[in-house]
């Protein structure tokens, strides 16, 4: 099980060696990145079988917590580490003329993202989060257009503010407890963080890490960045990086901040995210920004779901997150060539019947039409919400339903343009072959999951139950008492 560290170490090591490798042999430089990610993916999949006996905690360098750094491997952490590794491999951005730099950044993303998912220590989470952030700036700016630089700069400013606020939150947590080990925090939190200081710390951490999870007040960067970055980078950010940040927040909520007020803050911000995101998407006139705003709305649904206390909320939120992780990257890949104004998309179905068909399938699942997986995920959220006897949760359920109606409106508006072309109108260019192939793969996975829904749901529920069990986390890490 110690091999799980390779998921972090190998991509990072290769990233820093890549310029040297490339100097020795261009061929090796081209294939080293994908090969290493393939290897770490295989390691991750093999390790999945070993998790049958429950989660595992690894003490790096043999130092016991709280002094040592803990790596905590449960199914959720390994799943996310695998998602970021395989996602980067699938959406490999190192194809263009700037190959070397892009490959390095992609490898860093895989390594740092895995580290973020596996960390059991708040400060380690902060460091990996910053590393992921820097990699994202590089990937977005790599387009090289003035708009891309401006979007990166604005994203960087919001993200720096978020990181500083998160650091202030960490300071408050440390001030109250004297530790940053998540397991030890879970032990101490009911006594020391169940007060106003704990709530302030949670809000600071929520807003800080929420920047990447497209949380409501700190998501102004989303439409700009997704409109200027390449299709693969948008897919990576919306599909995977946002989920990494989200899961960090959820872990903190489960382990450290159990007070009801913390759940309420997240619920309200989630509701505002759904309302603002879906309305803005409805008004958007170009496909890329429409998808970007819709992604804010979807992340809002996840925040609402995770704010439901107990395993039911984690299960529902995880289902929406996993569904979004497959659907949104595929949509962004299709939008790589079709990102312009929706009016110019008329007749796209004639140029690429497969692309248009895929878009309709993904859109249907995103809206939540049965029997596609998106329906089951949304149903889970609504059922869990209705079991909470509080007005705000009912309001959230209403907002999610209204958001689905808006989603149906704007996505069908685009889809109908695909199939109606006025005579004389120039159809858009077809999606690139590689993008279409990757999107087809994701679409096929979505279709396959319709038939495997029962075992899949059981698996996701098992992951959620394990993640929601704070007692098991503490028992697994088993930190020593403070000196």
């Amino acid at each position: 099980m110690n091999h799980v560290v390779l998921l972090v170490a190998l991509p990072l090591l290769t990233a820093f060696l890549l310029p040297v490798i490339n100097r020795v042999s261009h061929l090796a430089g081209r294939w080293a990145g994908p090969a290493v990610l393939l290897l770490t993916s295989a390691i991750g999949i093999l390790l999945w079988g070993d998790l049958g006996n429950g989660p595992v905690a690894i003490e790096l360098g043999g130092f016991r917590p709280p002094l040592g750094i803990t790596i905590y491997v449960d199914q959720l952490a390994l799943l996310l580490a695998l998602a970021v590794t395989m996602g980067t491999l699938l959406l490999w951005p190192g194809g263009g003329e700037d190959r070397l730099r892009q490959s390095t950044l992609a490898l860093l993303l895989a390594g740092a993202g895995s580290g973020l998912a596996l960390s059991g220590d708040l400060f380690n989470i902060y460091v990996f989060y910053e590393l992921v952030a820097v990699v994202c700036y590089g990937l977005i700016a790599s387009r090289g257009t003035p708009a891309a630089f401006a979007a990166t700069l604005r994203y960087l400013i919001i993200s720096s503010v978020g990181a500083a606020l998160a650091l202030a939150g960490i300071a408050l947590v440390y001030q109250a407890t004297g530790t940053l080990n998540l397991a030890q925090l879970a032990q101490l939190a009911p006594e020391k963080l169940n007060n106003i200081q704990g709530l302030v710390a949670f809000v600071l951490l929520l807003v800080g890490f929420g920047v990447k999870a497209e949380l409501f007040p700190v998501n102004a960067w989303v439409p700009e960045v997704y409109a200027t970055a390449s299709g693969q980078v948008s897919a990576l950010l919306a599909g995977i990086v946002s989920k990494l940040a989200l899961v960090i927040i959820v872990r903190l909520l489960i382990l450290v901040f159990q007070q009801p007020e913390a759940h309420m803050v997240m619920l309200v911000l989630g509701i505002l995210g759904v309302v603002s995101g879906e309305l803005a998407a409805w008004r958007a006139r170009d496909l890329r920004r429409m998808l970007a705003f819709s992604s804010i709305g979807q992340l809002g649904v996840m925040f609402i779901a995770f704010s439901i206390p107990g395993p039911a909320g984690v299960f529902a939120g995880l289902a929406v997150a996993l569904h979004h992780m497959i659907v949104k990257p595929a949509l962004f890949l299709l939008a790589a060539q079709w990102g312009g104004g929706t009016r110019q998309l008329a007749g796209a179905a004639r140029v690429s019947p497969l692309g248009a068909g895929l878009f309709v399938l993904l859109a249907l699942s995103l809206i939540g039409v049965p029997p596609l997986p998106g329906f089951w995920a949304k149903l889970l959220v609504l059922v869990s919400l209705s079991e909470q006897a509080q007005t705000l949760y009912y309001l959230a359920a209403g907002v999610i339903l209204a958001g689905a109606a808006l989603e149906a409106n704007y996505l069908f508006r685009v889809a109908s343009r695909f199939y109606y072309a006025r005579p004389g109108q120039v159809p858009p260019a077809a999606p690139r072959g590689a993008d279409l192939a990757t999107a087809s793969l994701l679409g096929a996975g979505l279709l396959a999951s319709v038939f495997l829904m029962t075992p899949l749901a059981a698996q996701v529920e098992a992951i959620a139950l394990q993640a929601a069990d704070a007692g098991q986390y503490v028992a697994t890490v088993n930190p020593e008492a403070l000196p």
Partner: protein, 146 residues
């Protein structure tokens, strides 16, 4: 003893607030970046204060000396890491600001945003939102700067 620490707490929160105010209120990119630097400094100070002890010795063991109170080394290590990350990101911010200035010829963030929105709209082949659909655009030359 409490008062001395209190001053530092006030300073840390003050730096954070000044930083946020600078980021929100300034239109000049360099001032926004200064705001971020102040905000980070405030957060770092807060982290250092987390376990500050009056008159504590540095946490280094010297033969024969057993200080009664030692400072907690963990926040100091953390702040050192945070400062290094902050400096790295500051360099990246400045280099990006330089690229943006070269492309758009301005450091006014409202104008940069305006130009960027225009570029995005042009690339997508759509018109910019008009005043009936969106708030009227704010141009930098209205307040005499450019």
């Amino acid at each position: 003893m409490l008062d001395a620490t209190l001053i530092f707490y006030v300073a840390a929160v003050g730096l954070i607030l000044i930083g946020i105010a600078g980021i929100v209120l300034s239109a000049h990119l360099v001032r926004v970046i200064f705001g971020i630097v102040l905000l980070e400094a405030g957060a770092n100070l807060l982290l250092l204060l987390a376990t500050y002890r009056e008159g504590a010795a540095a946490p280094i063991f010297v033969k024969g000396a057993f200080p009664a109170v030692m400072a907690d080394p963990v926040p100091q290590a953390l702040v050192l890491t945070a400062i290094v990350i902050g400096v790295g990101i500051l360099a990246l911010t400045l280099s990006l600001a330089l690229r943006v200035h070269r492309a758009y010829g301005t450091l006014d963030i409202r104008e940069i945003r305006q130009r960027m929105e225009q570029d995005i709209a042009d690339a997508a082949g759509i018109d910019m939102p008009t005043s009936s659909e969106a708030p009227a655009p704010v141009y930098a030359h209205e307040d005499g700067r450019s």
